[in-house]
Every structure is written in structure tokens, then in C-alpha cells.
Amino acid sequence: MDVGLIAQFAMNGLMLGMMYALVAVGFTLFFGVLDVIKFSHGDVLTVGAFAALASFIGLEALGVHSAALQLLTMVAVSVGAMAALGAVVARAFVLPLRSAPALNTLLITLMLGTVLRESVRLFYPDGANPKPFPRLLPASSLGIGNFNLRLDNMILLVAGILVIVGVQFLLNRTRLGLAIRAVAQDEETARTMGVNFNAIVLVTFALGSALAAFAGVMNGLYYNEINFGIGLYLGVVGFSAAIIGGLGSIYGAILGGFLFAAAQTIGAVALPFASAYKDVFAFAVVIALMAWRPTGLIPEKLSERV
């Protein structure tokens, strides 16, 4: 196969992997601090993307046409609103179920996800139709043989890397990160050491949801189209990626995201029976990896479940 094509496939895979990784990091954060699965995560991404689109339309109506300003506002509104939504979800639905079986949290957030998704469909004007997402990044591209290197894709990729590095820095180098890690490791000890448990949970959910919002905006800018169903699929993929990486481990989630994207791309390109089965192939890889490494590729360092 032509080198340009391989480069193109690799680029496509990297973009997908970045989005999957951002979603997976959210799942892994929530599981880390509270040992819960928050299934509305994907739909928070959808709402984030639509919030960005709505703020774009608002800015256009206000007469603000500078792409940079629009982009900054969209990211700020979307990330801010979803962080708030994430904290509200944690406060209203997750913390009250703290003493209930973990399955209840999973179910309540699954239902909440449906509510969010259907709300976008029903209440966003013409929400059932696919919506065009503005092209705000420079669209210049460099054609090298069969490889079309686009500047906007490079920007998205770099932005994604910066966000992930930022999250790493936050978790490993700040007092807040220390508190989050302390809660993740041992809730009771953290409490006795003076960590405000509830506040840390809310902050973690806000952080995870903000990442989802960022992934939503990235998704919109990458595909220039969003619809009410994007989060459902990304949620399932992100969850799978977090699981194969090792739920609770940030590096694992990132690795899982890129692995899943690689499996999908290989499934679409290399298999003789073509692309109809690429998801079948990718999820089969997930199943195989889970059978091989039940706790994930990079398991949570300290497992203190007794």
C-alpha cells in the first residue's frame, strides 16, 4: 500500500483515538474517585457540542464574526456549562446513591443519559436532524501524494494532547490533584487528613464532564456536523477504552482510546470483508483483551476494595 494512504489512515486513527481517549479519561476519573460508572457521560458530550453550537449561533446573532473569538467563547461556554452539569449530576444523582449498590448509580445515569439525549432531540430546534457545525479552524491543507494533511486536524490533535497533558499536570502536580488521588486511594483516610470529600467528588465530575465537552467541540470541528446521537456511540467506545486500559488509570484510558481507534482502522482497512464489520472487529478486540487482562492493560495501582 502507498505510504500516503498509510499516513492518511494513521492520521484518521489518531484523531479518532484522541476523541475516544478524552471520553475514556472521564470514565476513569469518575471510577477512580467514587468507584461508579457514570453512563450519561457520552450524552454530556452531546449536550456540550450543542451548547457550543448554540453559543456560536448566539455570537453570530450578536454580530461577532471573529473566528478566534467565536472559538474561544464556544469552548468556554461548552466546557463551563458541562463542568457545572457534571457537578450537578454528581450532587443530585451520584452522591445521594453513595450507600446504594453501584448498579443503581449505573442505572440512574443511564436513564439520565437518555433524558439528556432526548431533550436535545426534542427541545433543540429541529434537533432530530443533523446540524452543521461551523468551520472555525484554518482549512488549509497540504497534499502529499494520497495524504491530505489538514491544518485544522493538526490543531485539534495538538489541542487534545495539551488537554491531556494539562489533566496529567493537574492530577500529579497540584494540591487539588493530590486531594483527588488521595480520595481515589482511600476515602476515609483522605477525610481524616482534612480533604473535603464531597467537594473533591464534585470537582472530579466537573473535570470529567469538561473533558467530554471538549471532546464534543472537537468532534464538531472535526466532522463539521453534530447530531443528538453522537454521545451514545462515543460513550460506549469511551467506556470500552477505559475498561481495556484499566478502569481507574488515566494512562490506561488514553492507551485504550488509541487502541480502540487502531483496531477500528485496521478492521476497516486490512480485513477482506470490508468496513461493515469494523466495529464488530474492534469490539471483538476489546473482548479478547478483557479475557487476556481482566483488570485492564494498566491496572489501577492500588486496589483497596475489600
Binding site: L5, S141, E225, N227
Partner: protein, 396 residues
């Protein structure tokens, strides 16, 4: 004398009675013809009721025009039933209609799911029907029921028309993306068959799920195949994504040749300028473009129906007219009417020629091609592309 008188009187009265009897017959027939019942079924309530009511009114119009015609042998009464676009309701209504022996024939169904569910009922009861709006090929082609006919085209006709148009425009090499539902698979099958006959080549076929988000892997492979056009068999949501992602990979010099599945305003809204130059098709035609469209619209307007005829009204009118013609010719007898309908060849109607093949399918049904031009779907023949003022992507 008395004997002669009596005889004369007898002859006279016999003559009078005889004459009177003939006169009574002649006038009686002119005033009150035999009544014949015909049926109509369509979705009169629910989401697709606009089409159903338009079809009902149009079929009713055919009956009214015939009843107003002094040369008609019978007086017709139409029984209109509501299938709600639901297969279970449709089967009930079809059974009700077919079980009524006074009903000679019927124009039936707009929704494919209902039409395919009811064909067995019509076959069992021997009621000849003409489908006036449903497009699924299986309605006529799954079985070979002599009772079932259809005036409008199917995705088979649509894809023949499609293949002919793009071949004529000089497109020879294609890549196919289709969703893996029956809808997408059907489109792929019929387009590939039609294109093969015209000498076009399909370089690669990609089945995708109907809610897939990312098509970069497929499109990158297509890029390597370097076709002149991408044929897309699927619905609007993924159609929008495929077209948008073609742009991202720099595939803008390739024609996006799609189907009825994306002939919606949502497609153009979802893509904005990128929609320009996309082709789509519908089974049928805008009423004003049909051969008898003007006549039909005038007559329809004169009746002051509360709803417009909608896209398939003219087809319901044509179906009912075929039924009435057959009854006029053969009398109110289901078997004879069916035999006549099975032999309809090259018959003029307001939707153009009608020829039923051995499955009762109209083989020369009207198909209309559209091209997205300046944010609107424009009938191909009226577009600047057909006029040569603009060129489609990749057109030589």
C-alpha cells in the same frame, strides 16, 4: 265487431305495454345506473396522513369525474378506509374491504410496510388492487400475485434512472457506500445491476451501519480507488456525514450520486454549500411536471378538497382511473377486472404511460432526478447543470 275490437285493443295494448316497457328500460338506465363499489385505503390519520388524505381525495376525484360522465355504464361509490400507516391496522382494513363481495377493486396503500403486509389478504380474497404510493420492490416482486399491481415506480426504477443519467453524463467508475439495512442493500443491488448493463464499473462497495459517525477509513480507501463518482444508498443523517468527510479528505472533484433517501431539506441544511451538485431521485414526479398534471390540478382545485393532493395524489387518481376503465370494459366482476388490469400495456394516464409486467409492476413509472443547486433541490431538467451552465463535480 266486438271480436275485432277486442283484438285491436289487445294488439294496441300489447304494443303500448311493449313500447312502454322499452321506454321505461331506456329511461330507467339513464337515470339510475347500476351501482358499483370500489375501494381506497391509505393513511388518513397519523404522521403520513397528509399523503393519505391527498391520495384519498385524488381517487375520489377520479370517481366523481366518472360519475359525471354521461357515457359511463355504471355509477360508482368509493369506500375509503384508513390504514394509519400501520401494518396490523392495514391488514384489518384490507380484510374488511376484500371480504365485501360488492367491492370490485381498490387503490391501496401509501406506506410500504402496510402494502407488503396486505398483499396476502388481497390474494386470498381475490380482490384486484393497484398500489398508488408504496415504493418497496417486494410488494410486487416478492410474490407473483395476479391481484397486485402498482402504478408508481420502485427503487428498481429509481436506480435504473440514476444509472442512465450518470452514464449519460460520462461517469464510468463508481465507489458504492450503502447502509446495511434492507433499504441500503436494495439500493446497492439495483444500482449495481443497472450500472453493469450500461457498462459502468464499480471499483469498491462499502457497507456501513446506519448510524456510523466516521467514514474516513472508507473514504480513504475510495480515494485510493480514484472513482469518478460515489454512489450513496442510505438516508440523510449519514449522507450528510459522508459528504462532509469527503470534503475533509479533499474528495471534492467526485460526484456524490445519492438516492431518494437524502431528498430532504435536512440534507441541504446539514451541509450548507457542500450540498451543491449532489444528485438525488424520487419515485414519481412533482405533479405539475406529469403529462396530465395540469388537467389533474385544475380538476382537483375545482372540487375544493380541504387538503392538497401531495406528491402521490396523481398516482392515486391514475390507479383509480385504471380500475374504473376496467370495470367499464368488463362489468362488475373481480376476475374479469383483474384479467384486464393484468394486460395493461402502454396505457396513457395522467402520470404517463402505464405498462404492467408479469408481476403487476408498472415498468415505465415516472422517476424524477434532482440536483442540489444554490441550497435547493432543483428538478434536474430545469437545473443549470442540465443546461450546461454549471458542471457537476468531476464532470468532463
Amino acid at each position: 265487431m266486438t271480436g275485432r275490437r277486442r283484438l285491436a285493443l289487445a294488439i294496441l295494448s300489447a304494443g303500448l305495454i311493449g313500447f312502454g316497457a322499452i321506454g321505461f328500460d331506456a329511461t330507467g338506465q339513464a337515470v339510475a345506473k347500476d351501482k358499483v363499489k370500489v375501494g381506497f385505503i391509505g393513511p388518513l390519520t397519523g404522521g403520513t396522513s397528509a399523503n393519505g388524505l391527498g391520495g384519498r381525495n385524488s381517487a375520489d376525484l377520479a370517481v366523481r369525474l366518472r360519475n359525471a360522465d354521461p357515457k359511463a355504464k355504471y355509477s360508482y361509490e368509493m369506500i375509503g378506509l384508513d390504514d394509519e400507516c400501520k401494518p396490523n391496522v392495514g391488514v384489518q382494513q384490507a380484510t374488511k374491504l376484500a371480504a365485501d363481495k360488492d367491492v370490485i377493486a381498490a387503490a391501496t396503500h401509501y406506506c410500504s410496510a402496510v402494502a407488503i403486509a396486505t398483499v396476502d389478504v388481497y390474494h386470498k380474497f381475490g380482490l384486484p388492487v393497484i398500489v398508488w404510493g408504496a415504493v418497496l420492490p417486494d410488494i410486487t416482486y416478492r410474490n407473483k400475485y395476479p391481484e397486485v399491481h402498482r402504478v408508481n415506480g420502485t427503487m428498481i426504477n429509481q436506480n435504473q434512472h440514476n444509472a442512465e443519467l450518470v452514464s449519460k453524463l460520462g461517469y464510468k467508475t463508481f465507489a458504492v457506500i450503502h447502509d446495511t439495512t434492507d433499504y441500503g442493500k436494495g439500493h446497492n443491488k439495483y444500482f449495481s445491476e443497472a450500472l453493469a448493463k450500461l457498462g459502468g464499473k464499480i471499483l469498491g462497495t462499502f457497507g456501513v451501519t446506519s448510524d456510523q459517525q466516521d467514514f474516513n477509513a472508507e473514504l480513504t480507501q475510495i480515494k485510493a480507488l480514484n472513482p469518478q463518482a460515489i454512489y450513496f444508498g442510505g438516508l440523510t443523517p449519514i449522507g450528510v456525514r459522508v459528504r462532509a468527510q469527503m470534503d475533509k479528505l479533499g474528495l471534492n472533484n467526485i460526484l456524490f450520486d445519492a438516492t431518494s433517501g437524502i431528498k430532504s431539506d435536512a440534507y441541504i441544511e446539514g451541509l450548507g454549500k457542500l450540498a451543491e451538485g449532489t444528485l438525488s431521485y424520487i419515485e414519481g414526479a412533482p405533479t405539475e411536471r406529469l403529462p396530465g398534471g395540469k388537467f389533474f390540478m385544475e380538476k382537483y382545485a375545482a372540487q375544493n378538497y380541504p387538503n392538497p393532493p401531495e406528491a402521490y395524489g396523481a398516482f392515486a387518481f391514475a390507479a383509480m382511473t385504471l380500475i374504473l376503465d376496467a370495470v367499464e370494459q368488463a362489468g362488475p366482476d373481480r376476475k374479469k377486472v383483474m384479467a384486464i388490469l393484468n394486460n395493461v400495456k402502454d396505457r396513457d394516464s395522467i402520470v404517463g404511460k402505464v405498462s404492467f409486467d408479469d408481476h403487476g409492476q408498472n415498468t415505465v413509472a415516472a422517476i424524477t432526478a434532482f440536483v442540489a443547486q444554490d441550497g435547493k433541490w432543483v428538478v434536474w431538467e430545469d437545473s443549470e447543470y442540465a443546461a450546461g451552465k454549471r458542471k457537476l463535480p468531476g464532470q468532463k
